[in-house]
Symmetry: C2
Subunit: 301 residues, 2 copies
């Protein structure tokens, strides 16, 4: 790394690495940067938030958001985070073993005294996880050695939180409620295939309102974003948190022709399932934020 002091800007200085001391030197103080994730999980009925029990001071024993420091640079060739999104993805993966999850930054929290150690600013993210992955996380955290240092909490009854994490969660919920009313973000809290009731439960859990079942369904279908899916040989029970059955690949789905009335085939009426409509290959040179859905979805009022 460059070791000669350039002065592009009076207020500004490159970083230097002191090989002897193994320390990084700056002429001006620098804040540490972290990413914290408010991970929302949906069990089919209720919204949950994943929290970590802190094993170290400060706030040892209290609960906190999954998060960690941005890997800024490393003269020794270690891996770095190319963006703060990388930091968030890494932390999410560490705690849930999931990738390809909807992840979105929503606000920077930067109060000077928010961390007692040094100046730390954090970029707060929301992550959204559907029922299948929700259950996977439950199983894995149960199985782990250091049992239950990660845990899903009911979003309405959280424990006392470390740092300013209670405030971050409050704003995350507000952000989610805002986004869900203008974008089709809700589908990230569902599996590929879902019932109308599940979709409605997501909306009701997040907005705190209740909707008429029939009006909700009509409006959801009007958006044209849903495909009906005919489930074969499947009596899938409504998902409950206590279900410890592994449900994998027991629902084989195929798109029904819009014109073809499913009543012709089925001897009895079945519970309907839906999937998100795949638009006409929307490869619009985006950064491909994996798993995210960005079309406009001005839903319900």
């Amino acid at each position: 790394m460059n070791n000669e002091k350039s002065t592009y800007n009076e207020r500004y200085n490159d970083q230097f690495y002191d090989d002897e001391k193994k320390e990084y030197l700056y002429r001006y103080p620098h804040a540490a940067v972290t990413a914290d994730c408010v991970i929302f999980g949906f069990d089919g009925k209720n919204l949950k938030i994943l929290l970590i029990e802190r094993g170290l001071e400060p706030y040892k024993g209290m609960w906190a958001l999954p998060g960690g420091f941005m890997k800024v640079a490393d003269p020794n060739g270690g891996s770095i985070d190319l963006t703060i999104e990388d930091t968030a993805k890494r932390e999410l993966k560490e705690e849930t073993n999931l990738s390809g999850v909807f992840l979105q930054q929503f606000k920077v929290f930067s109060r000077f005294d928010r961390d007692p150690r040094e100046r730390v600013i954090t970029v707060a993210f929301i992550a959204l996880i559907g029922p299948n992955n929700y259950r996977k996380v439950v199983e894995e955290t149960m199985a782990g050695d250091d049992a239950a240092n990660a845990m899903w909490w009911n979003e309405e009854a959280l424990p006392p939180m470390a740092f300013d994490h209670a405030e971050i969660i409050k704003e995350a919920k507000e952000y989610l409620a805002e986004q869900i009313s203008i974008k089709p973000v809700a589908f990230n809290l569902l599996d590929d295939t879902f019932s109308m009731t599940e979709l409605q439960n997501v909306y009701e859990a997040i907005t705190g309102q209740t909707y008429d079942r029939r009006n909700f369904q009509r409006k959801a279908l009007q958006t044209g974003m849903l495909d009906e899916v005919t489930s074969v040989n499947c009596s899938m029970a409504p998902l409950t948190a206590s279900d410890d059955v592994k449900i994998e690949n027991i629902c084989f789905s195929s798109c029904a022709e819009p014109e073809e009335k499913s009543t012709r085939i089925s001897p009895r009426k079945r519970k309907k399932f839906f999937s998100l409509h795949k638009g006409p290959k929307n490869n619009s040179s985006d950064d491909s934020e994996e798993g995210s859905i960005k079309d406009i979805f001005n839903f319900i009022k």
Copy 2:
């Protein structure tokens, strides 16, 4: 400042100040943190963006967003930024001499190579400025010695930008368009008193749509957020960018009684002006983000 190495967390270290070298030491590399402001101004007709011509490398001579480094800490007792919002406010004040302006962070830009000097992440803000303040800034930047290193640009025809600032502006416009459709943010681009046409111009400039004059007015009034204002002795011309007349305190306004038809008083019809309705003392223990308006305003579709 504490000079003994505490190890709350294996991955983490306090900062140390080396008195001899006048440098700050960290065991892990730290990014610099900046705030950049996309300052939108409205001249009564069109949206403008305030840019700064860079006098220093890198990108010397190119145009950039007003912005600067967060003052993180100072063992010598210098002033610090308590939050990143403070940083943004300071930069805004430096460039416009304005305070009490609507200011809102909307995204962190953190690509590892976005600054050629060292790792810098920036918290991007939007700021919104009404016609009166817009003109004040025009006058002051004209008058300044280092003439025209700050300049309003038409938002549709910007010059080549330094760093990743073109991308930041693009996202700022998208954010503004989103916000204006769900919150009463538009009023921050107007003066205390404004005509319906001005309000409509703001919406049309930001959304890129056009609206029927009469339907727009009905919907704006339906929100109940507007008070009609009777302007006295005032033939205020529509504001144009070329106006170099100082318009200050020539419009004395008072709230009209909702029941009292203004036709009784006025001998001739006058152009109507409006102001934002003052709700019933909404002192809800907020941080009083000066000048911001946060009620819901689900406007126009």
